[in-house]
Symmetry: D2
Subunit: 506 residues, 4 copies
């Protein structure tokens, strides 16, 4: 297979600096709020927080009926409203324990407050406007006041607030009625700011269809109404429409440049409004495919494609929230097997998918800090002043064979330790293991353990010597491989009498 | 490096059966009893029990001063004895919580009961005979009665009892005084049986020097005295004498056949006594080197050599207890670094050494059961009636290059899943990672985590098809590699619409 | 308040023996199966298992839509059935981890398999007959086969199976259509036995209304159809109908003798059929009130009343399953506060209610074994041959003041330790603490901790001396108090120089 | 017993303010460093940190041989020094995990660095001066540099450093040689400041005998040598000399005023030196008895006496470190039973002693903050601006009967919740339970559990109404009782339909 290896030379010089905004740890998506009550959900989220570590979490269904917040009763023949925060508090408590703050998406509609019967998803989210905007505003305000009392006002006002989800899609907002959405936004915006003007509120949370038209209409409306949103939100998916087959949908990845251009167009629209220019844009959802039953999500290809995405998404966006952290998710019903193409970074059974590690690797970069010294479509490299480096390399192009990267980095002379963690189809591919095991729909504990064991990066170290201010090494990114590396000066003291080479024959 | 690969063909036929007594899970060695109070000791032992799972544990120092059992005081000018079981109970409780029973080694000597001042080890084990054999017998009896009261008589009588340790070495038993040992054995044997004749009692726990002479003397003595030991014990180490350098000693492995022959000679001696023929022999200690600062213990070579040992040690012995489970151990002082060549399966920091996995693999075989269908000096293979197989293969010969094994196994036709777990210098070698990191004497938490991540077997699966009653596959055991494999029929149902090959492009 | 203390003398003589069938640990009730996915549910169940320890668990909703088992799809225009066991396995795995086996209640109806739209509860349980009994039978059989494959046939056949729940109530079974139920029973019984005749199957799971008529009809039907149920099931609640007020219902306890007589009448009916005489009767549900929002459940009065019940329920029944273990329960919606009068032994927040301890105390008696030496309406006392005793005493009668019990028990002379654990309104009353705190709907972590601290029995010990074969002591059961006691010989050795009375001045 | 109740009226007025320096959480004592390796030690410390929460920990033996820091070896016939930090790092890591920083006591002497053979304690602490003060200084400096590298310089320089322990006692410092100590102090002080002048260094760590002479000599020396210690240290014990009996010593409590006067005298001495006036004084050890086998430590009397001490010790001292947190401690050998009169707040078996709760209660006060509104010899009360209060009351005088405190506190009108936690001989007295159980030397798990259950404060709540700006309530402190209380406004909303008094009959 030698023939299929491409070589690329990456040489960095002292002082090289490239723009790279890495905010991977800011936010992660989740299945609907009510699922946060579940034990497996919490276990998966704990794993994500331990190995990656996000600061915010965003999902649907805060006001949906399974959260049971909005309640009505009759008193002397009069219909009255009361609020139930039992489950809300359980969910928020659980997030706080894991170091997470919510990115509050206000939606969907309680059945009893709804103007219509339209529902979406297996779990029947009501996606119609409120029958009474005043009741909606009251519900929002009481919720915020309750949260401020329980978690402290100074804390809660830092939680970003987004109004509804994907109102430009008729399934998510009846008839994709833009006027109704703008009204909802205005009512909500003002209701929130009345509670505390420190709250950040944004929208319009659109996805795909007619996005430019919606974005302009949204900004025009805000200008007209004198509303100054604190940030702009939209979504970002990067596959062709899927082809359905049984429980699944198969989708092809689109050219990433197409998506990046689309993101730039939103940036340009926002910046074309003098009063809104430079407003932060949060991608409050992104993934490759937008369906929760797309086998692509479980593959190494997804991991490599995402590595490329994460190197670029910060260019024009403040943050980008992967949709979603785990596979406790019910939009298309209860999955029939652990590897069902769910959105999650973690498969049911507590199994990290390859993409999980892409996020872990970028989070390591975020913690490392330093200056971005290099970025292309297969690598991003950060460098500190002392010469130590961290980087991520990947090989996301289908059909392109393996990719060999020859690095030449500027470092002070001396001996270095290169640590690499590799995720590719050969060394970290639980989907293949599951397939080889016979695609069990309900793996037993032994199989689940094996799957977890097969889902860890391959760890290796090397010693390298820098001479004349430069260090050279190569990394082989196999098909759909993602590699994290760290290069640090080797500090060696050595113990009296210890000789590694005497213990390990050459 | 192709040139260095040797090939071997292993073909098994239906009905093949080879003798293989695998009792790897019976017993494991430990540093002195008093160390069981330590937290790191317990954490290492927990790891061992979770991943391997032994049923017994044996170590020195039950009666040594740090266990504080034997106490004296003056009353009206008279010296009296009292016993303190505070630490004993803490230690035994901790073993019981981890599913372990002690293999009770009775020794060493409390200072106040000793006839001399000779001590051994950094921790100053008194290794002289009792100044009063009656007091010794009382101490033993009271200990057993206390244990029976606390843990139940029916349980405690199943705990094997060994009298002293390595009395044939003058460091462990003053002057290696055989007559004194035989007296100790007789006194102890009778004292134990007086408490409850169901106890199993054995000896002489010898190691190396003049073993045949000692064994015959011991058996002659038992015959003469009418003592019928329940089992025989001895030790087994397989290196040349080490060369010292600073804190370390470097030892060469000896030809394994030399050791196996020596074990056979003990078996022959015992069987030559009609009344003792067939008595179980327990190797109450074995390892490669007999020093706790031999870097060899931390290597993949040790793991491979041990794989070979474990395929043979049951031939003439009932059990064999690896010396020791972990590196909380102080015979030569406190180690200066985690990889100091300790006896342990686990290095300090909770890092499994390669040899850890050799034991885990053999334990899986023990659980698998079935019939041994094949055994040579590089492989042992078990087979169940349904055709499923498990095996361990290894490559322990220094300088011999890689070893490719081509298997042909008799199984019913169909598709099979082959699971392999590989431990070799490239994929599971924490010692090298530690070396590459600069041999840190006190790894920080990040380094310890990396070391643990680098210390896990490489897991892989394949699908194989059996035709005409045979399945063929190859395993490559690299230098000092150990591989566990499992071959089972693939049960495939498949979910509606799921097509792995559509998700993963070829 | 001295005036309100009543005294009672309880004198037991050597050899006294009273019938007392204590099977408290056999089974516990639960909210619907789907709730078992929740984290708080599992935490409450873990607490229950650690402190009490049941062997079986029974609840509704196995086949309800949130468990997602029954699924349909169209293929070539034909409606086909498929089963999804993802959640089933998660639930059953969680039970097994906690040492529980399910008491399988087969119900309610998947919407797509239902013959009607009638639903019950906030969570919309479909309670209509199947539209196709063949599909129902297939669903049951596939479920059992799946469980047998996953958990082992020998294990699963020991899980009792009950057909539906309370079919004599029109809410639970459309129109309380008896003929339809009997048909369901017959179809199900035969389907289960076809899978494996070792399964135990029972019914008719009736509650209250027209119970005698239903029971006879059920037995007549079985006789006629040649069905031999393995056991009979019914329910048992002991309050008057509740009066509603806001979210709550207030119910008065009925005279316990009324309920016991009703249980006897069922026993008599069953025994009047020669072929069914002596069949075990399982009370698959019981509690005081039958509504999940009855503040009575959270009180000490409930605990004392239950202590009385537990002393008698085994008289004519094989087992009796308290409805329910915890307050994660949604039949009347999501509760607005932790103390909402739920059925549970544990309030949300992990707070044991007083009744929790009544069960813990009777479980201790069950473990103690021995012979029942005494039972009246305020005490039950077990005795072992060595004279050691355990008992539970209670004071359940409203308005009757405190109750002082003067015991005289036959024991060998010597010193004894009396251990008491007391639960009453003064010492273990989290409801009052919550009330004093202001009835917080969402207690913060500090309040929850205080509530848990206030919810533990008061522990005390005494030394007592038996003389002339008798020991005397008194216990004061305050209003609604429940006390567990244990009387054992005091084993005293004493340490050299230790003098308690010198350490603690009189 | 009414006759024996004394009444005291405590009336506080708005604005009342009393000096009260409560620094209870600053530091806690521990058995020698090497014991921190033990599992039971860590479990006890975890309990202490969870329920109380200290910020520093101080104990002996940092340089003693079991920590294995100072090592020598021969190279080419020359004796050389090397340091082993393996155990040091394990201990410090364990403290950091529990949120603790060490209060570093530099001592005792490694055998190989010692000038003599004098040892102290069962564990043989060498208490002689160094044979070479330069080697000592080097050992100290290397240790600090190692710690700074591992834990960060900015962190480590905040760890207070004390030179040696109780050099005025000949057992702790050979011949109580003052000149030698002053030399050690000067050498050490300068060595530490050379590493980093930010380190705080203090002494002379004296205890009892000739304290004024020593203190003046120390300060004179510092003045003369131009050393400016950052703080002064001394110890504080408050019993008469014990009377020995078997394993135990019985000591009578001394009049607390005697001790307070002694503390004041040290304060006065220090303040009499203009350059040292106001230097912080740390009591680096205090307890009632100074022997680790004094049954008094396990009693409620100790808890009440300590409550009094804690109300006063901050008057002239910056901090005061109770000696010790737990009973893993070996100065007089291994204890024979859990209640052996050890120094610890926690008895072996994880059982909190009454004194444990005294510390927990004062820590709650420290967290509460506010202003001290009242302090006498039975109560200390803190008050916040909103009127909420917390206090501790106690009854420490032997033979004085019960003490009833009638409080009148100034608060805004309204309803309040009074929470009390009571520890006294009747409700939280594990020593009595253990005694009643027969004083088992090795309690089994059931007994240990009962002991832990009996060792928790009795929790109660009341509702109280404030009228005309005042609230009145009474607390009954029984003999040796300690009570913590909290008074806060009751926030009541109430749920629709919930009526506590309807659920609980009067």
């Amino acid at each position: 297979m030698e023939a299929s290896v491409k070589r690329r030379k990456i040489e960095i010089r002292e002082g090289d600096s490239v723009r790279f905004h890495n905010n991977v740890g800011f936010c992660i998506g989740t299945g609907r709020m009510g699922l946060a009550l579940q034990q497996a959900y919490q276990e998966q989220l704990r794993l994500v927080q331990e190995e990656i570590g996000f600061s915010h979490i965003r999902g649907h269904g805060l006001f949906s009926d399974d959260m049971a917040i909005y309640q009505e009763y009759l008193e002397d023949g009069v219909r009255k409203v009361e609020y139930n925060y039992t489950y809300l508090d359980m969910v928020m408590d659980s997030y706080r324990r894991l170091g997470l703050s919510p990115f509050l998406e206000l939606g969907f509609m309680p059945d009893k407050l709804a103007s219509g019967r339209q529902t979406l998803f297996y779990w029947k989210a009501n996606t119609t406007p409120p029958r009474d905007y005043g009741l909606w505003a009251d519900m929002v305000q009481q919720l915020l006041r309750h949260l401020m009392e329980r978690y402290g006002a100074d804390e809660v006002v830092t939680w970003p607030i987004e109004v509804w989800n994907e109102p430009n899609l008729p399934g998510f907002w009846e008839k994709a009625d833009r006027e109704a959405y703008l009204k909802l936004f205005a009512v909500t915006f003002r209701a929130v700011k009345e509670v505390d003007p420190r709250f950040g509120v944004g929208g319009p949370a659109i996805c795909g269809v007619q996005d430019a038209v919606w974005m302009r209409a949204f900004l025009d409306f805000c200008r007209r109404e004198g509303l100054f949103p604190d940030f702009i939100t939209r979504h970002h998916y990067t596959t062709e429409p899927p082809e359905a087959s049984g429980h699944y949908g198969y989708a092809k990845l689109s050219d990433p440049e197409y998506g990046f251009a689309n993101l730039q167009s939103t940036r340009d629209i926002v910046d074309s409004y003098p009063e809104f220019a430079g407003l932060p844009i949060h991608l409050t959802e992104f993934n490759t495919s937008y369906i929760p039953n797309c086998p692509l999500h479980d593959t190494n290809q997804n991991a490599a494609y995402l590595a490329h995405q994460l190197s670029r998404l910060g260019d024009v966006n403040e943050s980008y929230s992967y949709w979603t952290f785990g596979d406790i998710f019910e939009e298309q019903g209860v999955p029939f097997s652990p590897f069902h193409g769910g959105f999650g970074l973690v498969a049911n059974g507590g199994i990290p998918k390859p993409t999980f590690w892409t996020f872990a690797f970028y989070k390591r970069l975020q913690e490392f800090g330093g200056v971005c010294a290099y970025r292309d479509d297969a690598a991003v490299i950060l460098r500190r002043e002392d010469g130590s480096c961290q980087g991520v390399v990947w090989n996301h192009k289908s059909g392109a064979g393996d990719l060999n990267l020859d690095f030449a980095l500027p470092v002070p002379d001396g001996v270095y330790t290169l640590v690499t963690k590799t995720v590719d189809e050969d060394c970290c591919n639980p989907l293949k293991v599951w397939h080889d095991l016979g695609e069990p729909s309900c793996p037993d504990e032994g199989q689940n353990r094996l799957l977890r064991e097969s889902a860890r990066p391959f760890v290796a170290t090397r010693q390298l010597t820098a001479q004349e201010g430069q260090i050279a090494f190569s990394l082989l990114a196999k098909r759909f491989g993602v590699i994290w590396f760290s290069l640090t000066k080797r500090r060696f003291v050595g113990d009296r009498g210890y000789d590694y080479h005497r213990a390990v024959p050459e």
